[in-house]
């Protein structure tokens, strides 16, 4: 399992750079992970999505799809793509330090 360092802490990441242990994530790491994904500044709207991702993961054991995010996070799909242009469900999951959303069936 490769290790990377965010905010001075070593963390384990898996395939695609997703956290394998969400417990290792801290809020201080988010800006650094976001920067690597081309997001220079995390706004309040980004944080709303990031916190929602953490909450959903704790409740359901997997990150939500972009469709579910658009329905329940309070941020529309259109805005989600503005916030996370490379793909909201994947990138927000990565920045929020949760595993890669489960593949579909």
């Amino acid at each position: 399992m490769p290790n990377v360092t965010y905010a001075g802490q070593a963390v384990s990441v898996g395939d695609g750079g997703f956290f394998t242990d969400p417990g290792q994530w801290t809020e201080e790491m988010a800006p650094e992970i976001a920067m690597a994904e081309g997001i220079d500044q995390l706004t309040d709207r980004h944080w709303q999505v990031i916190k929602f991702m953490r909450h959903e993961y704790e409740e359901k054991g997997t990150g939500p799809t972009v469709r579910v995010l658009g329905k329940t996070s309070g941020v529309s799909i259109k805005e989600l793509y503005q916030l996370f242009p490379k793909g909201p469900a994947k990138i927000a999951a990565k920045v929020a330090g949760i595993p890669k959303p489960r593949g579909c069936i």
Binding site: G61, G87, P88, I105
Partner: protein, 433 residues
């Protein structure tokens, strides 16, 4: 006398009703099926309608005629389910109480979630084959199509029969070959997934088939709008990419039945029922079960899955009524014939923990897996008869149980490592974006 109420008289509702009626005496339980209409469509047949190889009349039969004697059939829409009082309110105002509720109302299409599509009618040059009327209008559009760009687009997962849009591409290739205009038709498959299919081994085979047949592949395309204002029309993704088309075949977003969203606690954000993936019992109420496309279990939305779920679900309804512990043996088994055109088909067989591999099914001597053959095509054609006369009445297929067989398969163990065992009940949605 116990009341067993089954919502939906499609594949799952019908086979569960018939099996329960056989197992429980008339003195033990009343079994009632509710559906808003009396038209039971053999949905796998819809794929063949656009190519003139099936007609909606041939694949539709009355729902009530598929139910055994002693099963009640109530034709009404469903307003809501009240889990607290264990009642179902119908759209005619009647309220039906239940001791056990089985939700089998399938998935519905929600085109209006995509800009440019709406529930009232499909725009010019845009069609779907996921409804009988849509399949007929697509048949007419294909018949008049003399050349140009055809885009086959899956808007979002999960969808019913996730292989059907691929089969559509294969059959369209064959259809235009037969009409001797294949060289004038550009076919493109546009998917939100990162490859042709959801499972890696099968995805390589199916992606290879698309390439062999000259079908273009656009991946990770999350459709935001379908624009038919100009010519060509355009599929536009949320991240601003475009696919032009002269004719679009769109599989719209799916969700559970509408009443689910009006029934607090019953379903998830998309209206699919959250159930234990191994017992099929609802997480919200122990006397509620769900089967088939209506559930949020991480298995394909396919008739074969419904069939295999049926055995476990019926056993669990009987155990629940008897106060006994439930059987947690449903393994996510799915089994699908994939039409590849020119009279051939592939067969895939998989479950929650393993992906489709090569070999033979259901044992060393059997139908070839993940390989084109005429035998699989014949299997697919013969299945329609078994559907009406074996599956719906609740008969078992000789030699085929509900659990996925492992003998006859190659390299199965290696695929387990790639597939995560899932014990939660996500909507089966992809996280591809």
């Amino acid at each position: 006398m116990k009341q067993i109420l089954i919502l939906g008289g499609g594949t799952g509702g019908t086979l569960v009703a018939n099996r329960l009626r056989r197992l429980l005496s008339p003195g033990e339980a009343e079994v009632t099926v509710v559906d808003q209409d009396d038209q039971h469509v053999y949905q796998p047949g819809l794929l063949f309608v656009p190519f003139g190889r099936a007609d909606p009349d041939e694949i539709t039969r009355p729902r009530h005629r598929q139910l055994r004697a002693g099963i009640g059939f109530r034709r009404a829409g469903i307003e809501r389910v009240d889990l607290g009082s264990a009642t179902v309110v119908l759209d005619d105002g009647a309220a039906l109480g239940y001791d056990v509720l089985v939700v089998a109302t399938g998935a519905r299409l929600i085109p209006e979630e995509t800009e440019g599509l709406d529930a009232g009618g499909w725009p010019d040059r845009v069609h779907t084959f996921y409804t009988p009327a849509g399949a007929v209008s697509l048949r007419d559009a294909l018949a008049g199509f003399e050349g140009g760009r055809i885009a086959v687009n899956v808007v979002d997962m999960p969808i019913k029969c996730p292989v059907a849009p691929l089969e559509f591409c294969f059959l369209a290739d064959w259809y235009f070959h037969e009409r001797k205009i294949r060289d004038r038709v550009e076919l493109t498959y546009v998917t939100p997934l990162d490859s042709a299919f959801t499972k890696p081994v099968a995805s390589r085979t199916l992606g290879g088939l698309l390439a062999d047949k000259g079908v273009g592949l656009v991946t990770e395309f999350n459709t935001g709008s379908v624009d038919t204002a100009g010519r060509p029309g355009r599929l536009v993704s949320w991240d601003g990419r475009e696919v032009p088309f002269d004719l679009a075949v769109v599989i719209p977003l799916h969700g559970g039945a509408e009443y689910v969203t009006r029934s607090p606690g019953l379903g998830d954000e998309l209206g699919f029922i959250t159930v234990d993936p191994h017992t099929l019992q609802s997480a919200a109420a122990p006397n509620v079960f769900a089967i088939g496309d209506a559930t949020g279990v991480p298995a394909s939305k396919a008739g074969s899955v419904t069939h295999f779920e049926g055995e476990v679900l019926v056993e669990n309804v009987v155990r629940f009524l008897g106060g006994r512990p439930l059987d947690a043996s449903f393994d996510g088994h799915a089994n699908c014939f994939i039409e590849t055109g020119f009279g051939k088909a592939l067969l895939i067989d998989f479950n929650y923990d393993t992906e489709p591999v090569t070999g033979h099914y259901p044992g060393a001597v059997g139908l070839p897996l993940l390989k084109q053959s005429r035998l699989n095509h014949l299997g697919k054609l013969m299945f329609q008869s078994f559907y009406w006369h074996g599956l719906l009445p609740g008969r078992d297929i000789p030699g085929i149980g509900s659990a996925m067989p492992e003998r006859g398969k190659r390299g199965l163990a290696a695929t387990r490592a790639h597939t995560t065992t899932t014990t939660t009940t996500a909507a089966g949605g992809n996280g591809a974006s």
